[in-house]
Symmetry: C3
Subunit: 576 residues, 3 copies
């Protein structure tokens, strides 16, 4: 059985609509709705006053109708009375409220306010039978540069580096005379006269990810005593400072929000995200048994019965996707009939234990009033509602599948961040688009894995554009090949270590070539000029320069694509 | 007789040039010049000191030459000594002086300073025979987000909504948890983390419009005792937070500044603006008799004799347009010979009582030194001066015409603002460009009217893209059709009410269809998918979807264009 | 003999690499390296502590290997402990450190800190035999708008104008009512509501240039007692607020950083910059004998022996250029084999006494880690190192040439700034690109001169788009033509005087035409409509409008190109 439903915001509607909604949910085979994401100002209208009566009613109504609740802590959208921990931009602009995400996770006032509302919810609803899952916060992603952040960042750096000299060495602060005499001198990478240090910027993203993860864990521990699984929904995109591979180890279900950006490619996009989420979930391993976290049993018990059948690792689900439409370059484009079904199936075939929409009923007001919804403004007697109800009928009884492939694609968000550094050798590389292209070329389902995932058992691992490679990654890839795997690497790999420090020749032994020049531009996106040493050249360009080499290494093979080839297919076959 | 002339800035020139200017004005048949718009720092060089001698001379010189003065209060361009009420951007940047428009109409210091200079002018020149009209301020349009504005905005909201719950309901603050417990919590829509609430943004524009209108009225009452007509010149454009339909009721002459943006389309552009200004003027009704405002008689007495002959409503005029050139995409392009004449005639044929240029003599210095002028830098023996003098000769003795048509086009600036909301169903709609296109298709002169204008007497009313429709607008349109009119509406109409709240099915009864899906994109800008109920389908697309329907409603007919048709002509005929 | 080498940043490397570097320098025929540019935080790790030991070692190593040092004061890149004189943007954003150029030359704290480190270096290394030249600061170019700048700007204006009325007249502050009652009212051109006054903006650039020049002179005088030549490296580009013609009179060697922006045009670009730098150097005249500046002898003694042979004016050199690559639209593109040699030869053929690269060894870290280097990340056994070593071998023994031509091209940076004013008659003019196009059309070497350079001896002088013309420039050009020269001018010349005040007819006597209309757009970039008076028309357009005129003036000839002609060649021949 599959979780099926979406975000329901009953606080936006009179209670008469609630009854109609629940009736429609039953018609659409909904078994789980996310409630409370944007309810903070209803639950706590002033700092001193809590009002739970309406939510009691909502949860009782769900219970009475056999619909589960994924109960959110509402902390991603503080009310207007919350003014003391608002975020500050890199330019120093103190942001105001009036939107969502107006908080700084490092501000003491925010930590206190968010814990307070989470605790109130946890103590009131821990045992409510409708509650099947906790949805902490929403799409963590606010990057702040305030003084609270500066203080916390210094602590993070101290813990990471221990003394300033290690920091100076990691960031290469001798360049442009930016050596720090103490951690106290370090600031967030606020607006400066010219380019920022890329290692500083990258560490700040890591710090923001960790600071938000701390906030998540703090809330998780608050709701944990209920014994229900806890998660948060992942926003995806180049702007998001969340290292999802790392976060996946702290959630009971990996939950992703998936918003493709083109009608033509939406199924490819969904397949990629699904394979990626499954990769995160599987790589995270079984739920951590230490501490008060939910055991796998507790989790299985809380979900639809099918959930217990998910083999290995953690389950994953789509927490949000748009019903029947795609936002493409500023236009909300309707999908053709059948596409919503295809989307849901794409998720389930790739192992999703839940397929949820944002949102159930279209809002009349607010910035997202035109966001697609299962019950559109025009009501249930509409193409969208009919199609989504049919999707529910078709998938809710299915079991999530456990696709397994012998090929894997590595996808590393820290590398994506590194590809966003200013002043790279070229601004023509789109890491994420390239990985999506490789994913399509590999065919699907294929496992999309973080760089620290176990690779044993895969006959082939492809890792395009792996700019950032730590010593651990270098070792893991060598070990994989030595044991007999086929590894496919490309130009512009291992440019730097985990601190964005250039690591020339770092791949030469593995590739069996000498890279003599990194060459972006010039008729291709990039060409690594190589001189083969122990590798064999499989393809050359008209000027006789090697474009593809193969190198036997241990029991395995390393294939190297020195440039962006129009046809990837010939190079995506395992050597054995 | 027509007002003819332009902005004259004698303070930029030695008095020897004044004599030459007046001589040239007579040659060009000029009978009215706007003086004083940018004179504040000459009239009041320091807060303590007034200097009127030079203006005395200027006005006497005009009087002696039979040229009228449209005397401006200089408050749109405060001097550098005015530092205490400067505007603040949405990002919190405190702007400096050094340009024009550096004021906040809600700052007490500005209210005091601007009233002081206006009073000094009013008391000195009320009876000067050269003064024919008062030109309060200039192109109101500065949007400020300072604390003074915050306080005033709260007062405005209190007067509009009475209690916070009404505000919460109007803005839909349940979305994203933005409920206000009191008006004191509301801020201007300053920069926030993500999207602002569209109703909040729209109300802020209305508030800014009203706050500026208050400032205008305050000055109007100061100069009113002179008995001369009072106006202010309207800047047009998507950025302007002025609801001109509403303002038109407070001016004695609707005065517009018209700056077309393409050489090829400049006459179409002027025709649209002229029809629009006439619509505002006519819809504003006769001057308000209550209070100390000028009576129609007083007004008629003050103008050229022809002014008394303008039938109905208020007169309108072009207060500024560029002589002989158009600024098109950053290039000041000269118009071909004859085009300046055609422009002036286009205005007069559409009822203008005045045709004025900005500016009379080109400035040597300053940010607008390259702005076209009647007397260009090269002097009067130039193509531009010759042509404008010929325009004066041709039009100054004409009577403004009173075009009347049986068709009207609705144009609503608040709807234009609503179309600028972030996160609409599509970013491909340009409301103003669409209305201009419809205006061309209708042929001209056609009355362009605000949504609250009386519609009786029109055989047909077209209202494209009327996103924002209040209950009053809904009622007015139904009433118009019931009484026998032909109404032409389009896709994307009545999306929301006046608070940007989605109003599904709100048009269904009037159109005789059921709108089942709003569908932007997909081979057209937008398609409303409809199921006819009582309407007849007049046009279908290849997939058999209705594109045009007609519905008999009361004595009249409603035609509905469900998508953007390349050819509008077949649908712009009154049913009877 | 030619200076050959580049920026060496040993502080980024362990001392083991230093030995290898010096060995490679010898292989590459390097005789001069710039050291210390980014060393401040190594030399003065805290405000209280200086550490010179490592630099002693570096300089001794250079001395022992016969390699000269161009010793930098490190003041362009303050360390993180320098927090009290950081720059502020026009928007009021207080910038942070973490990059380079984070200083305000008008901040007392910066003046003190930068003098202190410069003095420490001067006293320690004045007599070190490795030191051949002082490299003050690096690429002056930080524009700041802080209160320190406001105060200094007022002083600069007072010195320039004496009383506020002269300022008001120069800036035309009557426009938009911006008359200043005292200098105390003037602010930097910070962000304002609408357009800034162009004369204000232009004077601020001049002020910033002068303030930075004061800073340079202050440091020059600190290092001067060593008797070694002193210079600073010029950054070029539209954003740079440095009037290099003026600065050239204060440096002992004109030193430019040359970064072409296209692979296809890099040699043309280099030729232009070389001819320009030589023009600055020659026009600056012999080193100023007053004060403690280095005499020409002292300079000659300090350089390679070939330096003494440079005839007339000052020497010039390329202080930085990128080895073997060009940054083109965000992509670091490798140059083909042979192009690095061609680049170096282009400089030497145009008189360069030095050809230096940025940088010697590629940085592992920091924002410019991907900047091309002589020793790339991949090490010395690479195409780049081999080619640069060959360049050294080929050119280090040559003598700088003294090209002389009978034709000159005027290039005026203040005019470039004026062409960046907002709200010009057109936004389609690119002054610098036009001058580069004329430079190519003239063929090369040709002298590129500032507007105040002596013009006697040139048979032809071309001056395209000379927007800004002071009375002195007007006089100089007339005097040149009167004496028999051929002057080629274009449309859009003498639009304004040095205060951006429009000067209509200012050229009419010289051109022998009457300019009746400035006409941008309309099928060409710009056409000045002229009526010939005493000039002869040499070319007309199909509408019979004059496009090229020639006018005998004194003993010479003035050719006037009234529009942008596709073919310049026919008009670039001296009349005699």
């Amino acid at each position: 059985m599959i979780w099926f439903g979406g975000d329901w915001n009953p606080e936006q509607w009179p209670s008469s609509v609630w009854l109609s909604d629940v009736e429609l949910m039953r018609r659409a085979h909904v078994n789980l709705v996310t409630v409370g994401v944007f309810s903070w100002s209803r639950l706590q209208p002033t700092p001193e006053k809590f009002e739970f009566g309406w939510l009691d009613e909502v949860l009782d109504l769900l219970r009475d109708n056999g619909i589960g609740a994924c109960l959110a802590t509402p902390t991603a959208s503080p009310p207007p009375w919350f003014t003391d921990g608002l975020p500050v931009t890199a330019d120093g602009v103190a942001l105001t409220y009036g939107s969502r995400d107006t908080y700084c996770v490092n501000a003491p006032a925010y930590l206190e306010a968010s814990s307070r509302i989470a605790s109130a919810l946890a103590s009131r609803y821990a045992d409510h039978p409708a509650v099947r899952m906790w949805h902490v916060h929403n799409e963590y992603g606010t990057t702040c540069y305030c003084e609270h952040c500066a203080v916390a960042f210094r602590g993070w750096l101290f813990r990471a580096y221990g003394d300033p000299e290690a920091l100076n060495a990691a960031w290469g602060t001798d360049f442009w005379s930016q050596r720090y005499a103490s951690f106290a001198e370090v600031r967030p990478p606020r607006k400066t006269q010219y380019l920022s240090n890329p290692a500083h910027v990258l560490d700040y993203r890591r710090f923001v990810s960790d600071a938000m993860l701390d906030h998540y864990v703090r809330q998780r521990e608050i709701v944990r005593p209920s014994g229900k699984p806890v998660t948060t929904n992942f926003a995806l995109g180049g702007w998001v400072p969340v290292d999802h591979a790392r976060w996946s180890r702290e959630v009971d279900v990996v939950a992703v929000d998936d918003y493709p950006t083109s009608v033509a490619g939406h199924l490819d996009d969904r397949a990629f995200v699904a394979d990626l989420a499954r990769g995160w979930a599987n790589s995270a391993g079984p739920p951590n048994s230490a501490g008060p976290r939910a055991s796998a049993d507790a989790y299985a018990g809380a979900g639809p019965d099918g959930m217990a059948g998910v083999a290995g690792g953690r389950p994953w689900m789509v927490m949000e996707h748009a019903p029947g439409a795609v936002l493409e370059q500023g236009v909300v484009r309707a999908l053709a009939e059948g596409e919503a079904m295809a989307a849901a199936q794409a998720y389930v075939e790739r192992g999703a234990v839940g397929v949820m929409y944002f949102q159930w009923r279209a809002s009349r007001s607010g910035a997202e009033q035109w966001h697609p919804a299962v019950v559109p403004h025009e009501g249930p007697d509409t193409p969208v509602f009919h199609e989504i109800a049919a999707v529910g009928a078709a998938i809710v009884g299915r079991m999530p599948e456990s696709p397994a492939d012998t090929r894997a694609l590595l996808y590393d968000e820290q590398t994506m961040w590194a590809w966003q550094s200013p002043h790279l050798p070229t601004n023509q590389i789109d890491y994420e688009a390239t990985c999506r292209r490789w994913h399509r070329a590999l065919g699907s389902p294929v496992d999309v894995l973080p760089v620290d995932a176990p690779l044993d058992g895969y006959r082939m691992v492809a890792a395009p554009l792996l700019h950032l490679m730590s010593a651990a990654t270098h070792a893991a890839l060598r070990s994989y090949v030595r044991a007999g795997g086929t590894l496919v690497l490309t130009f512009a790999s291992a440019l730097t270590d985990e601190h964005c420090r250039v690591t020339p020749q770092a791949l030469d032994d593995l590739l069996g070539v000498r890279i003599v020049r990194r060459r972006p531009g010039d008729g291709h996106v990039w060409l690594d000029e190589v001189e083969p040493t122990t590798a064999k050249v499989q393809l050359r360009d008209p000027e006789d320069r090697p474009l593809v080499t193969e190198h036997s290494y241990g029991e395995g093979l390393v294939r190297f694509l020195a440039t962006d080839l129009p046809d990837l297919d010939p190079w995506l076959t395992p050597a054995r």
